[in-house]
């Protein structure tokens, strides 16, 4: 069968202020093919597709559909030309049913007949192999079901060209397989599918051709059958990249943090964490896998002291065995109490008793470094605020998911952001900016942060550089436990590898690292063990050196039905 052109883009250029998002991009899409648009974050993939979907208008260039030049100025124009886009962030009304969402905004002759809509929706679903109940409300749906609604919505409007923006980012491996089957059936039906992605294995699996964008430029379009991961990466990044992630063996692992039976309800009273128990060891990376919103964020926030727990314990093992006692985080009274419990020994391993000694003499002895801990210190962090946790001397670092909304202050420069953790130091009411500035300069140098200066608001930096600043700060406090939530989300390949490298270095230094990730390939390559969560509960812990993606994928959805019904 001869290939028929569906869509052509010629010399498409788009600028945002001084940023050139797309630079004279030419792209052809045929009928009955799946075209992958591949590129790193920020290379202009989504911008390009938004111009076909009527969200943006190109500064220069032409769009041709079936050989005729068209003008697409709004999403409605796009629909008139049978183009439909499924955005990364779904645009659905939660309170409406699937069918109601699908007909929303469709202008048809005749009365609004929901029954007929339901029949048509069911017809489309059956034709392409979707599973969807048209009468189900969106708020009851899983992410994958919502995506199905979005796809059917554009099919319902008769789209022949479908654009999917990062459709697999939120799906489990099984759901991805199902989605790809649907896409293949649509292709056989003569539809043109464009999928925007940065995941190489998916490109190779599902697409017929791949268009590679880099920094707004169209680098090449190649037939998928004639290429491989290494070649695609090289075109994407512009140079050869080693895609292997190091995984050093854990050194002397010892339990550093224990979570026991932790449960949490959110502000609306919904159970978000159920009886979670696990432990993290020093010198290892514990991965946390799960569909977005399975309780990963709440779990890390609970450990960091940001959530009022319903029940459970968070036990921190401070590696103090045979280390000198200091007054840094302890009062004299507390030291005396601990001595009475026989918690210390002296350099010759004899028990320490302060009986009959004056406070002055005790102070002198402790400050000389002659009083040592017998065992590691055990501390319960339950219901402690972040400040109290720090005052206990627990070095817990946390790289939150929301970098600019929680980890950093967007309007402040790097120096002021370094102070967030440490500004309280010293008794004077005034700030000391000298040390934070030195730290800022060190992080800029060490992690190669691209910024005009230490006082440029971090909001103006690129995603990768923002993350380097945040991770750099959290590592600078020589943590014993380092928690990172989606630390490579939105980062380009090089920045991602910088972050993996930093986490590995922490692991080698004996830090217990918790890594919440979404890319199972990365989790399997980087972590030592992987904890899988679903519906706020732990559904399994696996050895990352043995486990397979499919295995983890099953755990990510295991007991999901039961979990949902319990809520009602």
């Amino acid at each position: 069968m001869e290939k028929q052109l569906a869509l052509q883009m010629k010399g498409i250029t788009k600028r945002f202020g001084s940023v050139l998002a797309n630079d004279h991009v030419d792209l052809d899409v045929y009928r009955g093919e799946i075209l992958a648009v591949l590129g790193e974050n920020g290379c202009g993939k989504t911008t390009l597709m938004n111009m076909i979907a009527g969200i943006y208008y190109p500064d220069e260039g032409q769009v041709l559909i079936d050989g005729q030049e068209v003008v697409i100025r709004s999403p409605k124009d796009a629909f008139d030309h049978k183009i439909g886009m499924i955005h990364q962030h779904f645009k659905l009304v939660d309170l409406f049913t699937a069918a109601e969402n699908i007909v929303l905004g469709v202008r048809e002759q005749g009365a609004y007949n929901l029954k007929e809509v339901n029949t048509r929706v069911a017809g489309i679903a059956e034709r392409y192999g979707f599973h969807l109940d048209p009468a189900k409300k969106v708020y009851d749906m899983s992410v994958s079901e919502k995506q199905t609604v979005e796809i059917i919505k554009v099919l319902y409007r008769g789209a022949d060209i479908l654009i999917l923006d990062e459709p697999t980012a939120v799906l489990t491996p099984q759901e991805i397989t199902r989605l790809f089957n649907v896409l293949r059936r649509m292709k056989e039906d003569g539809k043109s599918i464009i999928i925007i992605t940065h995941k190489l294995n998916e490109v190779l699996e599902v697409s017929d051709r791949v268009a590679i964008l880099r920094k707004g430029e169209h680098i090449a379009t190649v037939n998928t059958a004639e290429t491989d991961e290494a070649a695609l990466t090289e075109m994407m990044v512009g140079k050869k990249v080693d895609l292997n992630i190091d995984r050093p063996e854990p050194m002397n692992p010892a339990v550093r943090l224990e979570v026991r039976d932790l449960s949490l309800k959110n502000a609306e009273g919904i159970q978000v964490l159920r009886n979670i128990s696990f432990e993290v060891r020093s010198g290892e990376i514990l991965g946390i896998a799960g569909i977005a919103g399975s309780g990963q964020r709440e779990l890390l926030e609970s450990i960091a002291g940001l959530q009022p727990l319903e029940s459970g314990e968070i036990i921190f093992h401070n590696p103090k065995k045979d280390k000198p006692v200091t007054f840094f985080h302890k009062s004299l009274k507390r030291v005396k109490e601990l001595a009475a419990q026989d918690a210390f020994h002296d350099v010759n391993l004899n028990g320490v008793s302060f009986r009959g000694m004056s406070n002055k003499a005790i102070r002198k002895w402790v400050e000389s470094g002659g009083v040592l801990f017998r065992e590691d210190e055990i501390m319960n962090l339950r219901n402690k605020t972040p400040l109290e946790i720090r005052e206990l001397g627990v070095r817990l670092s946390f790289v939150p998911e929301d970098r600019l909304g929680m980890g950093l202050v967007g309007s402040m420069g790097i120096t002021d952001n370094m102070m967030l953790r440490s500004y309280r130091k010293g008794h004077a009411g005034f700030l000391d900016r000298k040390k934070p500035q030195a730290l800022a300069e060190e992080i800029i140098r060490e992690l190669e942060v691209v910024t005009p200066g230490v006082s440029t608001p971090v909001r103006r930096l690129s995603g990768g550089n923002v993350q380097k600043v945040l991770v750099g700060r959290e590592i600078a406090f020589t943590p014993k436990v380092l928690m990172a939530a989606y630390p490579v989300r939105g980062l380009d390949i090089n920045s991602s590898y910088t972050i993996y490298h930093l986490l590995n270095r922490q692991k080698e230094n004996g830090v217990a690292v918790i890594f919440v990730g979404e890319d199972l390939d990365v989790l399997l390559a980087l972590c030592d063990r992987i904890l899988v969560m679903n519906g706020g509960a732990v559904t399994g812990v696996v050895d990352a050196r043995q486990a397979t993606k499919e295995e983890i994928g099953l755990m990510m959805t295991r007991t999901s039905r039961e979990g949902r019904e319990e809520d009602r």
Binding site: R73, G405, S411
Partner: protein
């Protein structure tokens, strides 16, 4: 077909884009242009409404000269200008810590008014019975305390129950006004309509009646600049203002910061009230704050919450006010005309912020503008 028509009209005539940043000289040029356009617009409106100007168009120069004469015409006017500027600036400074925290304190008017009331109450009951210096100190304490109480009430509600501070502080203004009315009923002897000037509790003159107030506010400006930018408290205010979640993440107790900052904000409003009571009026009316609590919001906002820049914005607004008063005197106009003059110019100045934040592209020029920007 409509295809062709489409192709011609494909690019919208104008479209807007947010600027990533703007060079300060450019921003100042835009503000200056706005000021000039505002003055021109004022002239046009005045030409329509002011009889004397219409009959004698040659006096247009005089009209504009009023803005200079109003504030700088005589040495007395100049001192008065500086003192009014100082009081307005004092209230604006008071609001600024709250604004930096994104706590929209619209209650400066009421907080200042209770400050006046507190001082006058002490003066009314103790004036003449205790030494003057002690009276002045007690009046100061009463002002600061009243202002702080007025400020902290909405803050407590915000911290505990997350109530809307804008409405709450605004409503507190009315409570303050009626509180003053209540006390006036008690204090004023039958037959009189207002409380006559009290004999005691007057700030000492430093050379003249104006200088002391000016110096106090100048010191406060510098002090607040340091407090906001170089102290731990100021840093906490900025963090809470930018993101409550970041503040929680680093262990800042957000409620505590809100309450502490609003005590300060209310207290400084109270100080402004003290300056009005002990430094100028020696009496209280429901109009003692005279709307300055609202004008101060604009001073603070136009000054980008920067205490030093607010000296300029307060000065500008005071020049406009005194200029407008001069116009009404020289051109025999009364009523709303002077307020209109001030309003028109402020409209242009505030409007200019739009052009500082956004860039406008015209059809066909977009591509070129983009290329220039790349260079």
């Amino acid at each position: 077909m409509s295809e062709k028509r489409h192709a011609e009209a494909r690019e919208p005539l104008v479209h807007l884009s947010k600027r990533a940043s703007i060079a300060p000289p450019m921003a100042w040029a835009i503000r200056l242009i706005a000021l000039v356009l505002g003055l021109v617009a004022c002239g046009l409106v005045a030409f329509l409404l002011v009889d004397k100007l219409r009959e004698h168009p040659e006096r247009v120069g005089d009209f504009y000269y009023c803005f200079i004469r109003g504030a700088f015409g005589t040495s007395r006017k100049f001192w008065k200008f500086l003192r009014s500027l100082a009081v307005l600036l004092c209230i604006a400074l008071a609001l600024t810590p709250a604004f930096r925290m994104r706590f929209w304190n619209t209650g400066g008017e009421g907080q200042t008014l209770v400050g006046v009331l507190g001082a006058i109450a002490v003066d009314f009951y103790l004036g003449g019975k205790i030494p003057e210096w002690l009276l002045l100190l007690l009046m100061l304490a009463a002002s600061l305390l009243s202002g702080a109480v007025w400020g902290v009430i909405p803050a407590i509600f915000k911290a505990k129950w997350n109530t809307n501070e804008t409405l709450f502080t605004l409503m507190m203004n009315y409570v303050a006004t009626y509180l003053v009315s209540y006390f006036l009923v008690i204090w004023i002897p039958n037959g009189s309509s207002s409380l006559s000037k009290l004999q005691n509790g007057k700030l000492p003159a430093l050379g003249n009646d104006y200088l002391l107030i000016i110096l106090i506010v100048l010191a406060l400006t510098i002090g607040l600049h340091i407090y906001l930018n170089y102290t731990k408290h100021g840093y906490e205010i900025s963090v809470v203002g930018e993101s409550v979640r970041t503040a929680q993440y680093v262990g800042i107790t957000v409620g505590k910061v809100i309450i502490r900052t609003m005590i300060l904000s209310g207290m400084l409003c109270g100080l402004a009230g003290y300056l009005i009571a002990a430094g100028m009026d020696q009496t209280v009316t429901t109009e003692s704050a005279g709307g300055q609590g609202f004008t101060a919001i604009m001073v603070s906002w136009l000054g980008k919450f920067n205490p030093l820049a607010m000296i300029l914005t307060a000065g500008l607004i005071q020049v406009l006010h005194q200029g407008a008063a001069q116009i009404s005197q020289d051109f025999d106009v009364s009523g709303a005309m002077p307020s209109m003059v001030v309003g028109i110019i402020l409209f242009f100045i505030i409007g200019s912020e739009f052009f500082i934040n956004y860039e406008i592209h015209f059809r066909g020029h977009g591509a070129r503008a983009g290329k220039e920007a790349v260079k």
